[in-house]
Symmetry: C2
Subunit: 336 residues, 2 copies
């Protein structure tokens, strides 16, 4: 049962998960994507498997594909926001499948919409299925890894989590959401209109940490500022001139009992090395001790998220039915 | 139930755990130590609690203390080796108490003696109780933290784990086991006679990692070498001259399918800074990605082990009865 997989969403991340699931020896029972360029094609061709003819055929009809497949684990990668993915996930759960989603807001859906989270939990319990979200950020670099570092601490007073990453491999959709290529004025305008989004997931990381430490966070403040480049920068998808925006410095601060208890900083940009910035994850946790950890370069977001999802398959199958959070499980690591 | 604590062993570590458990608001129901200087004294005086008269009185009779106390969680700190602590732990389990032990070999007792581990598991199940081991090393710095870093990895090929720590705060018992103060010749002699032990726990760290990654490790090689000081070094407990041993570089290498898959290096010495050595934990994990993490100074062994044990209390109470391993649980972090 845990060995049977359905792929729901075959963008870059879904394709990555498909390749990894096949490499692990999991059986792919169904593959779902509404894109007419993919539907009807063999998964092997769409996902770049070694065997380009390997099945199943990609289906555009999620309901039919889910109904025809015996109990499996769905690897879900169609969007970031709970409101966009909830109906798809409910459909999977209702057909008796477990779901692992890489939608950012699914790492702690109640932080996005408590009513939808409660509904997912109820549907999963009703059908004896499990649903969880995972990924590198949210899900690992700014939450589970931070919690891991608190295992030997008597008391945690403050977490300062900083992730400096490189967007150079990403395409136009991601870059647009970070305001890359805009003038500083257009960036500010994009923030007002919602076209510039910054990072999706601070609310989830903060809530995952708070939930596991039994903290009540009363307030989160977020700021988004343009990273204005002093030099020309170029990627396969984007060229920017000096004075244009290379990315977004998105920060969040969380308060408990009137005091700041978490600060999350996430500058995302193309070619950070062009101005001497090294990518890294730096976690500094202050309490009875100060534990400071650095990993450079940063934990890779794309490969890491696909791996985190596929790594969770075996672990999730041992959990109780319902909405499961990453922090409810033992560490979800690759299994031989 | 989870809030009720029994302290078993009131050496430096047991006293630390007592103070932390009281600070957390846990109720201390009993305290056990055979030392005639402690038995009969109030726990407050023995453990240096703020209230030196705070009870209970320390009991030298473990059986009586365990029998008279309703179901509680025992924080156990009396020794390192399974053969020395198994009978004490069985006594606790048999009286209906959960046990969290900081005995190094208890983090994965089957690596020390599979028969004793199976017996602990059977006794715990029979009485509906739970038993686990934890600590900074083994338990965290060279195992759980390493596993945490594999969450976003597709594949793990090799783990290189290096912990450089400072023994300057430790007393004569610990220093003797590392050969501190000996001549290099006496160190080699101590290895042969078993007086110089090095680190206790490599077998457990390796087995915890292998178990969670579903690896079969076929062979472990260990080496112990003297760290000969080039300069004079001094601690409150020890003075050494140039040419004498400042500590022990203990290493272990684990093999799977004929290939090296783990290398653990643990130089332990007094005053490492005397010859420019910075203390640190460095974890380098190689697979589809290379993830390298450094924290400097090292995760503190004493405070960290006491915290890891007390942090596990609430988490263990939610586990199934039997022998529980750290890696079976969600991350055992401090709870508000």
């Amino acid at each position: 049962m845990a060995q049977d997989i359905i792929l729901f969403g075959l963008g870059a991340m879904g394709q990555r998960m498909a390749r990894l699931a096949v490499a692990r020896g999991y059986r792919i029972c169904a593959a779902i994507d509404p894109d007419p360029a993919k539907a009807g094609q063999p998964l092997g061709r769409v996902a770049g498997l070694e065997d380009g003819t390997a099945g199943p055929l990609v289906s555009a009809d999620a309901g039919a594909a889910l109904a025809q497949t015996p109990r499996a684990t769905v690897l879900h990668a169609t969007g970031s926001f709970l409101r966009d993915v909830a109906a798809q996930i409910e459909l999977c759960l209702g057909h008796g499948h477990d779901v692992i989603s890489i939608a950012e807001e699914m790492t702690l859906p109640a932080a996005a919409d408590p009513a939808i989270a409660a509904r997912l939990d109820a549907i999963a319990r009703q059908h004896g299925t499990r649903v969880m979200g995972t990924g590198v950020n949210p899900g690992f670099a700014m939450d589970v890894l931070a919690l891991a570092l608190t295992v030997p601490m008597e008391r945690v007073d403050h977490l300062h989590l900083r992730r400096v990453n490189d967007l150079s491999d990403f395409g136009p959709t991601v870059l647009r959401g970070q305001g890359v290529g805009l003038s500083p004025e257009a960036f500010e305008d994009g923030l007002r209109t919602g076209r510039v989004v910054g990072h999706v997931g601070f609310a989830q990381s903060i809530a995952l940490i708070a939930r596991h430490l039994c903290w009540t966070v009363e307030r989160i403040e977020e700021t988004r500022a343009p990273i204005v480049s002093g030099v020309a920068r170029e990627t396969p998808h984007m060229q920017i001139a000096p004075g244009q925006v290379a990315g977004c410095l998105h920060s969040a601060t969380a308060y408990r009992d009137g005091r700041e208890v978490m600060r999350l900083e996430h500058p995302q940009q193309i070619r950070p090395e062009a101005e001497g910035q090294r990518t890294s994850d730096t976690l500094r946790i202050r309490g009875d001790q100060v534990i400071e950890m650095t990993t450079a370069p940063e934990i890779p977001g794309g490969a890491g998220t696909a791996a985190a999802a596929v790594n969770a398959v075996a672990h999730l199958s041992r959990a109780q039915p319902g909405l499961v959070h990453l922090t409810d499980l033992p560490l979800t690591v690759p299994q031989a």
